[in-house]
């Protein structure tokens, strides 16, 4: 079953580019839907894959597999037509297959191979862009090549320190983060979102560092994560480019997920694992909404008010809702994760807890600032031909509905993540 999970999108990536645009989109959607269905079924039946034993479902990745498949499915729905040519759809399925394989993998060596393969989107974007516009790609290439080398060396030598450095680069943790804003500023937005939002680095940290690393390494990881959360939240406030602002908010919120891995607190760890899902869904939707806007307005800048709320109220409301969910607003899943994370972190490191809380405060301001600048403050008339398509509405509404629905009834997700946290704590020997 698990080998099918990666095989379906990979097969789709070979097949879809040969089709005409209409059937290609339908086939890609079918492959993504099938991948989601397989992920959901696989999540319900833990165990190793009989064909490829390096793939397995356990407490940690059980919920993450449908989460990743859902993100790609929503991205496929929301991708504007300019970015949805058969070749581009094939590339998207290829990236999905590789990401799902990484999330299903439990073997260190195989993870190392998949770590390199999951850098493929960088090269795909580099091929797509004219040479003069590859500046951000070049920065990402340098940093991520370094992360690949460090990861390989870390796995080969069994060194958590080298793995830590590799993961810090991949996650955009200060001071190894500079590629992330450049990547978001340069790559196509759906590709950038799908490359970053699933957070492969966090999975690698949970599988390869958390169970084995010495306490001081986790302290370094946690300190750097909290510093990143605070620093990135501050820098997001002054951005005048929508993509860069999104990149910094994402870095801040995703760093909080890692902060949960730091302590000896099961509550903080559970909170971090919930934030992984909630901020992933919310920031994925947030980024895709930005892509929907860009398809109509071109590159969105935050130096002026754009207006347009009245002509696209659902997208505006969803943008606000997803932004607020990503920073832990009450009645959303983000609140549940942030609550457990802060509660657990404070019991171990009170200062970290306050810093993390301050980061979420600043990110909330950034989210509302972006909403006001992108949808309010000006009277604009939108060409009816540019109205939102049903599939775009569906993608945004699906993610917004999920973060609110799971926020109102969070216990199944809390239970699942708590079991994953217990498993990790057990593996570390600190029940």
């Amino acid at each position: 079953m698990l080998s099918l999970l990666a095989a379906v999108p990979l097969a789709g990536s070979l097949f879809v580019p040969r089709l005409a645009p209409g059937p290609a989109r339908a086939a890609a959607s079918l492959a993504a839907a099938l991948a989601f269905a397989i992920a959901a079924v696989a999540a319900a039946s833990p165990g190793r894959d009989s064909l490829l034993p390096v793939l397995a479902v356990d407490e940690l990745n059980g919920l993450l597999l449908p989460f990743v498949a859902l993100l790609f499915g929503a991205a496929l729905l929301a991708t504007p037509r300019t970015d949805a040519r058969p070749g581009a759809l094939g590339r998207l399925l290829l990236v999905e297959g590789l990401a799902l394989a990484f999330f299903a993998c439990v073997d260190a060596t195989a993870l190392c191979v998949l770590w390199w393969l999951n850098l493929l989107p960088i090269e795909l974007e580099a091929r797509r862009l004219p040479r003069a516009e590859r500046r951000g790609i070049r920065v990402a290439r340098v940093y991520l090549a370094a992360s690949g080398l460090l990861f390989t060396a870390g796995v080969a030598a069994g060194s958590p320190l080298l793995l830590l450095a590799a993961i810090m680069i991949r996650k955009g943790i200060v001071p190894l983060h500079s590629w992330m804003p450049e990547w978001f500023a340069t790559a196509s937005l759906p590709a950038a979102v799908l490359f970053a939002v699933p957070q492969l680095g966090t999975l690698a940290a949970a599988r390869l560092i958390f169970p084995f690393a010495a306490g001081w390494i986790l302290d370094v990881l946690g300190s750097a994560a909290v510093l990143t959360a605070l620093y990135a939240a501050g820098v997001a406030l002054v951005q005048r480019d929508g993509r860069r602002a999104f990149a910094w908010i994402f870095m801040s919120q995703s760093a909080l997920v890692l902060a949960g891995l730091e302590g000896d607190s099961a509550a903080a760890l559970t909170g971090g694992l919930i934030l992984w899902i909630s901020s992933g869904l919310a920031l994925g939707g947030f980024g895709l909404t930005l892509a929907i806007l860009e398809a109509r307005r071109g590159r969105v800048d935050l130096a002026r008010h754009h207006g347009g709320h009245e002509s696209m109220p659902l997208v505006a409301a969803s943008f606000l809702l997803l932004g607020l969910c990503s920073v832990g607003f009450p009645a959303t899943l983000g609140f549940v994760g942030a609550e457990l994370l802060l509660d657990g972190t404070v019991s171990v490191h009170p200062l970290f807890g306050i810093a993390a809380a301050f980061a979420t405060v600043l990110n909330g301001i950034s989210a509302l600032r972006m909403y006001f600048l992108l949808f309010c403050g000006a009277r604009t008339r939108v060409d009816p031909a540019l109205r939102l398509r049903l599939r775009e509405h569906a993608a945004v509404a699906l993610l917004a509905g999920l973060v609110v629905g799971c926020g109102l009834f969070p216990q199944p997700i809390v239970h699942s993540r708590s079991a994953a946290a217990d498993r990790l704590m057990h593996a570390r020997g600190s029940d």
Binding site: G136, I137, W179, Y231, G307, F372, G377, H415
Partner: protein
């Protein structure tokens, strides 16, 4: 029905209203104006009746804690919903439902055919949910969640006129002050939870905590932000960009009074922190003096009323700090009712004044209150008041500008570093 059932049913009504109005907006099928008006009036009337009936049933019972079940939980950490019913919470809840209902009825006509009509009522209902969560909460978690909802709905209503830049800028400014001050309540709640293992209010009232004074000061920070106390008072006149009905209920009554309510609710905590009580008295009195002075030079009715609100809320805080809680509650309910009425009448103030002058043949000019001062001092005082005691300018110059300046410099360094690796464009 028992008192808890009545209170719970009353509290659920605004939640239902949020769900109905929100769903209608989400599927782009907003209810008609008459249907919205009837629904809003019925909801708040029902809530009012429920809270009054619960208060009647509670006669003779000083306090009742009502567990509603667990929202989510893991081993050692449980987030439970719990209501705390007593004279304070039920009186304030009934008052909140009454004001929300009256403002809803007024706004139904005031916003007739306004493009954001449905959005206004959705945000009003959301605000009501938030304020009732604060008022009825039996846990600090629930107070914090309500606090956040009140902040967001306030900011969105200040920015109600979405197609103009100024309301939007002011909405963001209000939200920034709220969020920064909210860190106080969040930190207080985390500290309480850390020490007691629960955010339960009855637990907090029963057991003294070692960080009690620190927690009290953190709560005071949040209260200062929400109740527009010095030095955060500058957002209140800016909030007048919102539609008049929301100004009436938010800045004449419930929103600015939420801070005072939380101080009353947590008064057992403050009783064990004399330094924090002294700080509340000082903060309240200084704010009252400041607002009384600045309010005298305001040139539009809503701003003058907002400063009048600030003055009274400052006095209410001073009363709470002095331990005169019953007086403070009466003052709070009376002031909110009168001020809301004044706000609702403010759009027709000039017309009413004109009619009054016609009837009596001219009204006497107001008396100069500082005529005993030398002319130079009066001019200085006038300018001081006109500049709102330079509070906004000081915050801008000494807090916001250095903070944002430092971040911009860091951002510049970030870009320069990336340019080294990626090559310049």
């Amino acid at each position: 029905m028992s008192a808890p059932e009545l209170a719970l049913a009353a509290a659920v009504l605004p939640l239902l209203l949020v769900a109905i109005l929100g769903l209608a907006l989400f599927v782009r099928r907003p209810l008609s104006e008459p249907a919205t008006g009837i629904l809003v009036a019925a909801c708040f009337l029902g809530a009012l009746a429920g809270f009054v009936a619960a208060a009647v049933r509670m006669a003779g019972i000083p306090r009742r804690e009502v567990p509603l079940g667990e929202w989510f939980g893991i081993a050692g950490h449980h987030f439970e919903f719990r209501l705390l019913l007593d004279r304070l919470s039920l009186a304030f809840a009934a008052y909140a439902a009454l004001l929300c209902g009256l403002v809803g009825v007024f706004a139904h006509r005031y916003l007739h055919r306004e493009p954001g009509y449905a959005r206004f009522f959705f945000l009003l209902a959301l605000f009501a949910v938030g304020i009732l969560m604060i008022v009825l909460a039996g846990d600090m978690e629930l107070i914090f969640a309500g606090w956040e909802i009140v902040g967001l709905s306030s900011a969105l209503l200040v920015a109600f006129f979405h197609d103009r830049p100024l309301p939007v800028q002011n909405g963001l400014r209000v939200f920034v002050v709220y969020r920064v001050c909210d860190i106080g309540l969040l930190a207080a709640y985390i500290l309480v939870h850390h020490e007691l293992g629960t955010g339960r209010l009855t637990g907090l009232f029963a057991a003294p905590i070692t960080a009690g004074t620190l927690v009290s000061f953190l709560v005071l920070l949040a209260v200062a932000g929400k109740s527009a106390q010095i030095p955060f008072s500058g957002w209140l006149p800016r909030a007048m960009e919102g539609p008049t009905p929301s100004s009436a209920i938010f800045y004449g009554a419930l929103s600015v009074q939420a801070g005072a309510f939380v101080l009353l609710r947590l008064s057992p905590l403050f009783e064990r922190a004399p330094a924090a009580r002294a700080a509340i008295v000082a903060l309240g009195l200084v704010t009252a003096a400041h607002a009384a002075l600045v309010g005298r030079v305001q040139t539009d009715a809503k701003c003058a009323l907002s400063y009048a609100s600030m003055t009274q809320v400052g006095l209410i805080l001073a009363e709470i700090g002095l331990g005169w809680n019953t007086l403070a509650l009466v003052h709070l309910l009376g002031h909110g009712s009168v001020r809301s009425l004044q706000f609702l009448r403010s759009p027709s103030l000039l017309l009413e004044r004109h009619h009054a002058e016609n009837r009596v043949g001219g009204l006497p000019a107001p008396r100069e209150p500082f005529r005993f001062l030398p002319a130079g001092a009066r001019r200085w005082l006038y300018r001081f008041a006109l500049e709102r005691a330079y509070l906004d300018a000081a915050l801008e110059r000494f807090v916001v500008a250095p903070f944002l300046g430092a971040i911009r410099r860091l951002d510049g360094l970030e870009r320069a570093w990336s340019a080294r690796w990626g090559g310049r464009r």
